[in-house]
Symmetry: D3
Subunit: 293 residues, 6 copies
């Protein structure tokens, strides 16, 4: 069960209106790596968790905090829009380049659809979607997905932080980056603990039996480009992170295997299939064509 | 520039047709973590890379291999479909539960749209989409995204491997899991090398200045659920993975701040805003209602 | 701020596994009118609300309950999947029509992507998306949208209730339909109260000035089909629900106005535009063609 | 069968070009609540209707009118774009802020994709999609969905009406708001008539048998937020709109039920499941870690 | 303006119910090349047309017919579903493989969402979307797009025609293929007439000035694969269809140009950029690592 | 297998930065008819081809070239963004209309998500999706789809070519239009060769038996609009392109057939179905209503 309390975790009030910035802030609300994503992702991972106790508690504990971050950012966006010009015309604003520029840079659906409110979309107006989240039931894979989400998310917050001088906005974003620092570290720590406690290991999934015949290619870097320095990295030399092998470098991919012959499905699919006598048909057709010319 | 060679990297021929399995295999072709995703993701990361040399070579080197994996899986799917019953009816097959079950479990667009061919969709028929990929320009974040993609991808291959007895399919999937093992390890190794060489560090982005005032919350685990064991993990105790702090546990979130007052935008948005005399209006309205009853 | 408590509002445990039913239940979790929709819709309406007090409290109060319903249904789905056959093959299950039928009817991503867990998608595997929700800032419009959502949602729950005999599932769905009864009534009551208290009225938006010249068509039913009985309904006769007019019936639409001439944009868009001498060109071309024949 | 007549129902010609406004107008053409939505929604409701006569005639009668509104708005958009600067460069227009502002605010696909034509997308360029519409077969639910669509639609038209001074645009939008007034009232009247004639009633679906055991929660407002005034509304006191009960207020939700234990699916999904001796493994692992430090 | 007449263009009644077939039929209703696509595509091409007269009349004339085809197919689908088992359970139908197979193969949203009605989606339940259509303002390009749509559409109808023995369904599909034959021929004829009358020509757009420097590559087939027979086709030899050149065959692509150096954007994007002294940093890091081991 | 070479096929470096133009260029990279579409479309057609030899070689040969075009355009976009102002604020740039206009016109996700890199989206930020491509297994249909894609693609390149004066951009676009000229001609030539060689013919699919009873409508133009000139075109007179008939013109569609009666599904779908005694119920209801007034 979830409960709401009419408070915010931290201040979320801008110094002044800014419709263009409100649009940018949608990215960290409803974008691929916005707060809706992490709130939903941690929630579904908790719902689908297979072990009780601290790992599931961790997922629920951070997941609920993130719903509150959704609320904070939405609240901020609504205030950024509250007094901003959004195209309402007493006075033919379209002729004023400054105002027109604002209209150009804003999310016009903020005005038309939401009446100066926040929306569950990204900074280009793409609706948030369920395919942004990852919840596989394998906690090591999922905690790495979470670390990834927090990294991309913190990166985006850092970028938009540099796109405003508004003290109120910067204050809230500063708080959020601090929490992202915490969460990013926490998922990394949790992934490490899963390995130390013997639940999961690299490569994911670890419990799939290895097959002898594929060992030769299991730790090869095979270079399908002609980059001269690809063989110099730690991915082509030395011990592998899973502690079970040694990387090697294959500069030129081995010859492959012949492609299987093309398929010939049932004729009632009306695909284009070989003619019994294609050569002759063609020959005849070519002749006909020549005669016509 | 990209060049194609009419060979496959490894065998990709099934022992027998299986339209239901062909549908499942679409997940690792056109799903969120299928081969199209990694091919496109590594490609865009390479296009957007800011440093020449081994890291970009790595991206191009694996990226091109993955396009070949797209081809291998698509080739396999077309063969799984080639001779499989897909609803073509000489003989009123809908009345045969066995055949009907096949039709029920297959992707009917394999028959109707592709004429027994592979499609750029997942196992539920959702089209592949550009929002599946991540390419931020920050290589540490992106290499973690790549490790995540390989983990989820290898997990899915492992799952469908257990859903068939077809020797040809299992052979190809065995090869692919071996390559996923390699790539998963390689992205982890590459992320580690970026840190060792001083390019990037945890938390991502590392070069964002920390602000003193938020230090208190920077490494706290704040428990927004009531799970009793959330404080027992490595995410709530001990040193943080970024090497800059110590985790602490906050069992009960601090009191928040008051919510800002609701916004009141321009009346021409026709939102519902406070009445000057709401109480009186209401009172009057209530009275009217009573009189009507 | 949102807080989580490790309890469920009501029982959510099935009597037995059923992967096909788990798929159907996704509709009321992640479908257009599933629980994610109402949780998010009421949340965004609250974030965007312009008046403090009881209406916003109402939105927050029901909104948080709905997040708990998301959790209940997800928990149910995971249990329906827990022991159900999902295509794992010790024993070549594809040859058994009964098992194959299950696989055919299930959401195969339940197995491949979520490892027997719930997902934020509908019963056809379409990811939930932000465009399902409505939050306009106009509370009368939005409360009608909420009543609509609860109506469609309750209808869907009622339908799937008749598709199972599982006592545990029916128990939970019974509880949910009761809560839907409450919420459906509550949004209707709230919409009515908004009108009584003078905040908003029909038609929405009510404060848009009416323009005299359009009064003739403001309450007409104009029949663009040839259905003979369209004029018999309350929408074509008698007083209008907004209390400001009288419906009338127009059996044959009035003649319209001439279409404006086609546009002729800048030639650098390379659209197909009139030729100066099209007739002559055509004539010449026709002649040429004849000569060729 | 549908027939087209080369006339428009009303004038649809702007006074002057305006590419930015053309983009905004896309919302009421191809947005969630634009004319394509209502045309398709009423059409599918008619196709799926189960009773002949006036209700189906109503759906067909308005549905066909709405296709004509799609045409009117598309025609207007093409004219707004016809002479407007859209980025074509004789003269390095990007350096002129005024022109650049226009380009910034317009839908660039109007120029690049449609060559100055209308498109089936919303004001942010999201393609119209079938999931915008509702057609459940239950006419009471669907007529409320229609009233909702007309309310949101009229609200959006009213908003963009205030964003232009163009007399031609305002004239057409005035006509459309008048028709929206009619249709909004008509769906409300039709919903009411369905109830009066005994076809359907509140709550939808009305014919689902009520279960005694859930009566206690059937009309409760349970407050999952801490808003102090949520109990003051008509949704928490007095008779319910379905005429079958009385609302009550529950300030603090009852204690819930324990969550069921986490699921433990087949190991071949490679999810993270409990270890037989997790505590010992952990203990050992922790020791190892300490020794390493 | 569009008008509806309560008749169908042709019979649309099945001999018997078939929920699985109803799902397949969704492809030709709401799929990429279904009837909604052609109805909308021809409509938007008409709205955006720049020349009055026969070409626009053609678009309107066929476009309105296609709306009637949408109606016919939807009507057929509703009847296929009317009496078909769709998972309603008096009698524990999940245990009957035959019935379960039907449920497995059907679109479960037909039952849950539409209550046995048609939906604006394809045979995998993907909602129809505006991005399926093409309307560029260039009539030659668009008529080829229309021919393409009719070809793919007729192919799909032909495929599903072979998946049923139902006389009623086959009768309607036979009618539709006949109309597709007409329309496919008509778009080809119209494209040809545009060329003959001098409006447009190959290549599209024809009025773009050619640049001398690119003439060498303008008619080359450059083989980026190693297929041995690619040079044998009409695309690599002989006159070009636009009548302006001669194809030639380039077996091995010319050497390309060097890639530009990677970009180095503003540091406040926090991308990974070169280190001033990367080599030294690495060296130092490598040393450190060795010391730790 | 695919191999990458670290060269570009042609120059791809702009003369100067331009973030607005970078956004426009996304259309030809990740739009419906952008380079990703053709690369994927030709690839899937090759994977699904049923005949070995020159046609499949053609698909592979052009398909691999198009992947290189994806790389070229992405490389160009990254450079257009490299030094362009994208909203980074030392100095409160939002107050400068010129800079604000740039921000307004750019894709803000270029800055926030990609850190000044290219993305797999169109010029409105819609992610590329698998449903853009066509690969049916019928080569004549698919080659027409390819000609269509090259036509629309070349049209879009031509349009954006006129929206810049940048010599570097124009140089690359000139090269691309030349290659589009080649490919457009080549698909037309290939479609023609398929017909000449007897593989496929018009109408597609050609091998579907014609049914006598539908011959009357097979070549009719039936005018569902009232356009007076629709009968004047080549689509309504003279021989048909498939060489098997003669077009005729039907000015007024024949009377249709009666619509089948509405469906009445199982009552447990809770649809609205006829009342046994609707008239009486209504009568009674109407009376009640009158009495209340």
């Amino acid at each position: 069960m979830y409960f709401h309390k009419q408070e915010l975790q931290y201040n979320a009030t801008p110094a002044k209106p800014d419709a263009v910035y409100a649009r940018k802030m949608q990215e960290i609300l409803g974008g691929q790596y916005g707060e809706i994503t992490v709130a939903m992702q941690y929630g579904f991972q908790a719902f689908n968790a297979h072990i009780p106790g601290k790992y599931r508690d961790l997922l629920y504990g951070i997941g609920a905090e993130e719903i509150g971050h959704v609320e904070m950012i939405a609240t901020m966006i609504a205030q950024l829009l509250e007094k901003a010009p959004q195209g309402i015309s007493d006075d033919a604003i379209q002729d004023d380049p400054a105002v027109a520029a604002v209209v150009g840079g804003m999310d016009v659906q903020h005005a038309i659809v939401a009446g100066a409110g926040a929306r569950p979309v990204d900074s280009n107006g793409n609706p948030w979607q369920g395919s942004y989240i990852t919840a596989s039931g394998n906690l090591l894979a999922d905690f790495v997905a979470n670390a990834n989400a927090e990294m991309q998310g913190r990166l985006q917050v850092a970028r938009i932080l540099h796109q405003t001088d508004d003290a109120g906005v910067r204050d809230m974003l500063g708080f959020l980056t601090a929490r992202d620092t915490a969460h990013q570290n926490q998922w990394i720590a949790a992934a490490q603990e899963l390995r130390e406690e013997g639940y999961e290991d690299i490569p994911v999934p670890n419990k799939l039996p290895r097959e002898k015949e594929f060992e030769p290619v299991e730790y090869q870097f095979i270079n399908f480009s002609d980059g001269a320095q690809a063989g110099e990295g730690a991915w082509a030399n030395g011990p592998t992170p899973d502690g079970r092998g040694t990387f090697s470098y294959v500069e030129t991919p081995d010859a492959g295997v012949p492609m299987p012959p093309p398929t010939i499905p049932d004729p009632r699919y009306f695909g284009t299939t070989p003619l019994p006598n294609a050569a002759e048909v063609k020959q005849a057709a070519k002749k006909d064509r020549k005669h016509q010319e």
